[in-house]
Subunit: 284 residues, 2 copies
């Protein structure tokens, strides 16, 4: 099995590592526009060669599109176009994007749509690039398969095997439902972490020692604020409608806290905190 | 050296563990109103005995007040009153509260004020009780000493020795400055984590699978929402004025994100994310 990975970053690179080490892939062919990243990916051993998109598609059994969500629809179309042009009816393409509606819409009527499986492995770190690739980040995490009725059973089966090799739990849902869920449990977390970082960095302008007190609690809440703009700006833009709705709910709760504190209403503050504490049953 | 610890919870218990193991304390006497916690503290070995407050004060060299911030001023006054009543001019008291203005104000004019050092070891976890005590949580973290000009050099020196035994970095500042800093780097993080938990739990009412997608990013941002109400409600209430000001700044940044997303202004979103990314230079 030869794997083609277009975009040798954190996710593509980490998948390469685990799928090579676990024996699912015999070889990985990389596609990477950035020359420093391309050289690093080979040096680190994430891929044996860096080739053109067409060569990657022609020589691979499964092609993984792991580029930022703004570029992914175009790249995926190029992959499917190449399938069509070369009569490659056995090859399979997947993407690993954090949004699913726009990429599914972009190829909805493509003649090779059934050879494509829309996936989102829910894993990662706040770092990016081939340098950030690490083994084991997918282990025991959830992977969303979106709009699976549009994919052929054969393609689905092959991609299920691949994610099973990464020990991921597969959950199926529509692309729309995925994006709503992602707004709640991923994209909102990023926004509030960015806003927290901005708040404290703003204070640092007139108070150089503000971070002296930063402890583990602050670090974990602000961790996602290190997530890079090239990956995250397109995600936030693509999922803006869902995100705006979720942000409204979130800001209503922030306002409830503010009202309770302003009116010195200890019972109301307690009710909010105890309500939030119910998260204990979910997150251990 | 005999250490008295009033309140055998996460912080008091963890200090006991490290100070006993490191040899700073020969014995720890605990004071604990909750009988289950008292029994657990002895069983776990956090203290050799659980005694009354007066007995604890009379038999200890340093008394640590580690109760919730709402109870701490009264308890500290009782400790200092006991110093005065028994003529114990060599004994030292400290508190470990997450707010410093109100406790410092509560004992400002006490005849034994100079025997008290106001401290805040910036460490902990989202769990509470003697069961949550663990070794090493203070290692290499910051500890604030507040209003040190009110403490005697002798008391300060002894308490510095104690925190050095825990390998903490000591930072001195006024109680007022402490509470402003804490609002930024600790209390705000808790509020936004509580609000995030409430937002997603609210969604769960009509969507039982919302947490299926929760990954590491969500878990770290929402972690603090597990922090218990008995400890945190009093902290939020005591520091409400600073916290409300910081929340206003934070909500302004959230509004900026909202405006940028609503107006489909990708450049503005990028500017906000890149601004937040500057946190990388602070938090590794």
């Amino acid at each position: 099995m030869t794997l083609g990975i277009i975009g040798m970053g954190l996710i593509g690179g980490s998948m390469a590592l685990d799928l090579l080490r676990g024996g699912f892939a015999d070889a990985v062919l990389g596609v990477e526009q950035d020359s420093a990243a391309a050289a690093a990916a080979q040096r680190i051993g994430l891929c044996s060669e860096v080739v053109s998109l067409d060569e990657c598609v022609d020589r691979s059994d499964i092609v993984i599109v792991s580029v930022p969500v703004s570029a992914a629809p175009k790249v995926l179309r190029e992959v499917l176009d190449r399938f069509q042009a070369t009569g490659a009816t056995d090859k399979i393409a997947i993407d690993v994007c954090s949004t699913k509606e726009s990429i599914c819409a972009a190829v909805k009527y493509h003649p090779c749509r059934s050879q494509y499986v829309a996936t989102h492995p829910m894993a990662g770190t706040e770092y990016s690039g081939p340098w950030a690739a690490q083994p084991g980040i997918f282990d025991a995490k959830a992977c969303i398969f979106a709009d699976t009725e549009e994919s052929s059973p054969k393609a689905l089966h092959a991609v299920e095997d691949m994610y099973s090799a990464l020990n991921m739990r597969i959950i199926r849902m529509s692309a729309d439902a995925h994006d709503v869920h992602a707004a709640y449990v991923s994209h909102l977390s990023h926004i509030i972490s960015f806003a927290l970082a901005l708040t404290v960095l703003d204070k640092e302008k007139d108070d150089k020692h503000i971070f002296d007190l930063a402890s583990g609690g602050f670090s974990s809440t602000v961790r996602l604020a290190k997530s890079g703009a090239p990956m995250w700006v397109p995600i936030l833009m693509q999922n803006r409608e869902n995100l705006l709705r979720v942000m409204d709910t979130y800001m209503d709760f922030m306002e409830s806290f503010k009202d309770a504190l302003e009116s010195y209403d200890e019972d109301a503050v307690r009710e909010l905190v105890e309500g939030a504490n119910k998260i204990r049953k979910i997150i251990r």
